[in-house]
Symmetry: C2
Subunit: 344 residues, 2 copies
């Protein structure tokens, strides 16, 4: 801690998530003594706003990583693999948004409302879960605590902003072409046209796997965060032509009986959850409503007519906010509150 | 039969499905002696093309329904309720696309590749299933025959053309506003903005039901068509901003073990099915590819990692074609082949 706050680095400061992290640090009054925006060489020299200040982005280097208490990182996996250990070596605690560290045994994978105790005893690196996992486990946690979870069947409806700024531009350019009646420009971010289409591929298929890395994250991270390797998970991760806000259809088979009304009450009382569930009146969670908000929205809570031990849920959240930046900042707050920054 | 063909009426001739039916009758060389396009008063006088002919749409009335052998009907439910019995009374066999007759005990609900034998002994009315059910059961039938089906968990990604022409216009107008940066016009077809959004409501919620009528159709019609009331079904029907082509994520728990490779072979050999399943090479079924085609496309065929008795499938088809018009025309062909038109 320096002066009346912490020296906070944001790695990947110019990306969609990095920008949102910086916005949230200002909005939430995070105790910042120094904010240091870091990025690749390519983005160095750009300026970003932090509250009323204008800051210049610095290239990440052995020099620019010195003297930080906390780094909120949202660079790519390879950048994280290289720089996270160096940041820890230089004395910082790192909350990392990439998938690189998430499944390491000695790296806690933490959702602030779900398993904050996992922060205790960290070794400098804390992993922030994948967006589609994050919002789902916030909704599942109260149900898990009440009745256990035997099996999940998940289908996602994922927004393009999870892929980055280029994906939003690609969706818009394609949509403009379709409504304008001219040739749709060839995709460069996604393997196929995303505008007015649906892609049965969010992420990529590593090593001949029949599931995408996104689907594997949903399966593996859910178990790690809930601390239960017995949960059986089917995951289908689909990209839809939405800018921001992931939606998920989740079939939850509980271990003990749980009525939809009980689930609704548990969810209404859960931190970080807003229940929007009056479908006959047209009230259910929607991506365009969730965008820009921090909560996870849950609706369509009902008994699976094919399984008396299962519930169906519709879970929507801003993939850049609770799905990424909000949780990162919340973990920073939690680390401070618990006195868990490595030097304080 | 009159001359060298049949006197065929198309009720709802100006709608998206009706237009497609007429197009298919010409394309497939259906044995038509007379084609009579029928619609509501509002559409009477419009002209439609049938092959090289231009025909004038007639208002459906006690006079205009006389002397038809076969009526392919795709009007609204209330029109069907009123006119189907009158058409049968006047001597026609009716293949009806609305939900009105589907669950009647003495009305067969038929998919040409799945249960054509159900046509035998019909009483003048044959029901054409709902689009989302239709494409799914075509893909499920070979798996059902090989291994039985215990349980289905279905999430749909449904195109707007299922709702009609107005829905396509609404999606386009909203998309134009979003990419143009001006205010999105208020929706009139759907309860909320559909462009760049996802709606957890395909259909409506009747009588305080916590499932939409579309979800109930998927549950009930699947059982009726497969002739198995024991199949347990969870259904979540979602509207996505796609013009044509419904996609479905289907988790299938079979009664007997069934390997993904076996399922792929069964599907590749099944009538009306095209397997598109090389995801690492970016090959999986897509709405924009399925649009304008008659087959049901199946891919992402894989073991559910959470259930050794379950498979995950991705099923896509043109909701106006196999989901509606194609099956209607196929049933007409099947009725002729089997000598089951009421007067021949």
């Amino acid at each position: 801690m320096a002066g009346d706050g912490y020296r906070v680095g944001v790695l990947g400061a110019t990306g969609l998530v990095g920008t949102t992290i910086i916005e949230l640090l200002a909005q939430r009054g995070f105790p910042v003594a120094e904010l240091r925006p870091l990025a690749s060489e390519r983005s160095a020299g750009k300026t970003i706003e932090f509250g009323s200040k204008v800051l210049t982005v610095q290239a990440v280097s052995d020099e620019t990583i010195q003297g930080l208490d906390l780094v909120l990182s949202s660079a790519g996996g390879s950048v994280s693999a290289e720089w996270t250990p160096k940041l820890v070596e230089a004395g910082a605690t790192v909350v990392d948004n990439t998938s690189y560290w998430r499944m390491h045994d000695d790296v806690p994978l933490v959702v602030s409302e779900v398993n904050p105790d996992a922060l205790e005893g960290h070794k400098g690196i804390i992993a922030n879960p994948n967006c589609s996992t994050m919002q789902m486990v916030v909704a599942l946690k109260p149900l898990y605590d009440a009745a256990g979870i035997e099996r999940l069947v998940i289908s996602t409806y994922q927004a393009v902003s999870g892929t980055g700024k280029g994906a939003i531009d690609e969706l818009r350019a394609q949509a403009r072409a379709v409504v304008g009646g001219y040739d749709v420009p060839a995709p460069s971010i996604y393997p196929h046209q995303i505008a007015f289409n649906v892609l049965a591929q969010a992420g990529s298929f590593p090593d001949g796997d029949d599931h995408t890395d996104e689907e594997r994250k949903l399966i593996n991270e859910t178990r790690k965060i809930l601390g239960d390797a017995e949960i059986r998970v089917s995951a289908t991760c689909i990209r839809v032509p939405v800018e921001t806000g992931h939606s998920e259809a989740v079939n939850v088979e509980t271990r003990e009986p749980l009525e939809p009304g009980e689930a609704r009450e548990l969810l209404a009382a859960a931190p970080g959850v807003t229940v929007v569930d009056d479908p006959a009146a047209g009230r259910y969670p929607m991506a365009i409503d969730a965008a820009g908000k921090d909560d996870v929205f849950v609706g369509r809570i009902r008994r699976d007519p094919g399984n008396e031990r299962a519930l169906d849920l519709w879970v929507v959240s801003d993939n850049l906010r609770k799905g990424a930046a909000t949780n990162t900042v919340q973990l920073g707050e939690e680390l401070i509150q618990r006195g868990l920054l490595r030097r304080d």
